[in-house]
């Protein structure tokens, strides 16, 4: 796993999807995110790396306002999705989260059937007019989640009966089913074995064609493998942000260099 070689990828579109300006996050008195400015591009995989507690997950959860569920959390600054401020009082976080899907660290399928897991999002957002349409959405989502072939014969089986890697791909398929524009992934592979990890990584690379994917990861190898852009967080600061290849080969900041060479973190 010491292969730090970076595969150069073509970035076809460089349209900004999410732009954050001067974002500050406080947990009560604790200043968790300090003045972060970042532009996340469409149809690109952006990786957030950094040592534990550096704020990368916190920042990720700002992008779909999941931090709203934490009472003591306060967000300042401006985050724009396609030019619209997502913290505008007129924005309903529920509507936002339908556009910005999320995959969590631990696979968390609902204790329902595989079919119902996928169908839940489309149902609550009214994406299907009838059962046939819903069936179609479920199949398409499971195919995009690269898990269709494994579960097509047992859609009625509980989602929790799948293996860890399958559960995580089910969760990705579930997130995709609501037709989001952005997909946030919070350490999606940290609970998976290497084989399941490589399946999920492959899937992430495929998802890039349709979505803007933001992934938080502890593994620098993973960031190098799947992302085109990388942001390095340290102690709540966004230290460096740029092309993945450049971050891993010619980092500008000494802290980035220390981290990727294993001296801090």
């Amino acid at each position: 796993m010491n292969d730090m070689r970076v595969i150069e990828r073509d970035v076809d579109v460089t349209e900004t999807k999410i732009s954050a300006r001067g974002v500050q996050v406080y947990y009560a008195d604790n200043h968790a995110i300090k003045d972060v400015n970042v532009d996340i591009e469409d149809k690109t995989v952006t990786a957030f790396i950094g040592p534990s507690g550096c704020g990368k997950s916190t920042f990720l959860r700002c992008l779909n306002r999941m931090n709203d569920t934490i009472d003591i959390c306060r967000v300042e600054g401006e985050i724009r999705l396609d030019g619209e401020d997502i913290y505008d009082p007129a924005v309903d976080p529920v509507q936002l989260r339908a556009k910005v899907g999320m995959v969590f660290q631990k696979p968390n399928p609902f204790p329902k059937s595989i079919y119902d897991n996928i169908a839940y999002g489309p149902r609550i957002h009214g994406l299907a007019r009838n059962r046939a349409e819903l069936d179609e959405i479920v199949e398409r989502s499971l195919r995009r989640g690269a898990i269709w072939d494994e579960v097509k014969d047992r859609l009625d089986a509980p989602g929790t009966s799948l293996s860890g890697g399958q559960q995580q791909r089910l969760c990705i398929a579930r997130a995709v089913a609501t037709e989001p524009e952005v997909l946030l992934m919070d350490e999606p592979c940290s609970a998976l074995d290497p084989i399941a990890t490589s399946q999920v990584e492959e899937l992430i690379d495929e998802l890039r064609a349709n979505y803007s994917v933001v992934i938080v990861t502890h593994s620098m190898q993973q960031a190098a493998r799947v992302s085109q852009k990388t942001a390095f967080f340290h102690l709540g600061n966004l230290v460096e942000y740029g092309e993945t290849g450049k971050i891993f080969t010619k980092p500008e900041d000494s802290r980035t260099e220390s981290y990727i060479t294993g001296r801090i973190g």
């Binding site: 529920v94 899907g101 631990k106 204790p111 839940y120 999002g121 579930r174 997130a175 609501t178």
Partner: protein, 445 residues
Amino acid sequence: MTDATSIPAAPEDGRRKSSLRTLDARTRRRNAAEKRFRFYGLAAILVGLFFLVVLGVTIVRSGLPAFTQTVVSIDFTLSEEDYAKAEGQLFKTKAYEQIFNAALVTSLEERGVEAEFDAKAINRIMGKPGATIREHFRANEGDLGTPVQFELSAASRVDGYFKGRVTRDGFVDSRFLQASDLDLVDALAEAGIIRQAFNWNFITGADSGVDNPGGAGIGASVVGSFFMMLVVLFLSLPIGVAASIYLEEFAPQNRFTDLIEVNISNLAAVPSIVFGILGLAVFIQFMHLPQSAPLVGGLVLTLMTLPTIIISTRASLKAVPPSIRDAALGLGASKMQSVLHHVLPLAMPGILTGTIIGLAQALGETAPLLLIGMVGFVARGYPDGFIAGFTEPNSAMPAQIYTWAARADVGFYEKAWGGIIVLLLFLLTMNIIAIILRRRFERRW
């Protein structure tokens, strides 16, 4: 093997090499403590089981006699002539009684029963049958002139004689029963006129007067308890669950909600009689709801049950993993949707457990019912009156049992035990329904 010599030798500073096969003192002590602990646990369970068995056996042994009743069954024919004559008199039931007694004597002589008895002895054995007979013939005039079988319940002491409660040893004559009556009773039993029958009246009937344990039934108070449980269930479950969901999922964490939390926990520990007097003051004296009604009883018990349900519901909501909430919210479900679609179904088994504990407590509660007047009573117009519903005066099982246990006639003692059996069966039914429901909600995750 060349570096075998570099392995350090056993230290010489007092530590001896020990074998794994011999236990050192510390391990022995630890093992002994563990064995002791297991023994204590087992002993506790056995003691519990022993008392459970004692309880069960006592209840069944003392309570079963309540389900049988000694009855005097007699074929009796009333001619139209006698009917007209009896109705024409001033003391009508007395007249019927005389006709009946005369008929009884004739019928006994026909069967060859030879015993000394008079009208008083008949009264002592089977009470005063006049009223029962008159009522029957007034209601069914068509029965006049044809033989009608009457089943009259025997007096409490005669019933006790058949159940072994009253014996000839050390029998003292009283105005209730005399030794000569026992001879007559024996003769009647031999002739098949007095026998033991299953006491349907105990299951379906209402309470009776203090001198008539044979006529006492638990039926009315079973219905009363049932109505109360309905009120408790339909008020405390939705209110309790709604309050818990709000407190657990929506309420901001501040001093005010902390205060509410502490007070809910305190309410669970308030003695039930306090709720009773509160119900008397608020529901009856202030709001003028009818006294002795299952509606008021249900309201009082709802107040008592709410804290139990809220505490257990909050605990089971807390036990639902937060990742499920995150998953729903992350898909764009609203808070309400995430709670109703995912959290609540997962918390349902715990909520049902809390509900059944609360309902069981409420079902057995006596003290508050005494204060709002739901004690045993002779039902007027039974069975039409009480069945009318939630606002008619009624009793509840535990209050009825309490009333019976406090009465002087020993005949009521077995009724109290019998009432306990019915109460436990009611509780068992409730629990089985709850367990079946819980099974349906239980899911793995």
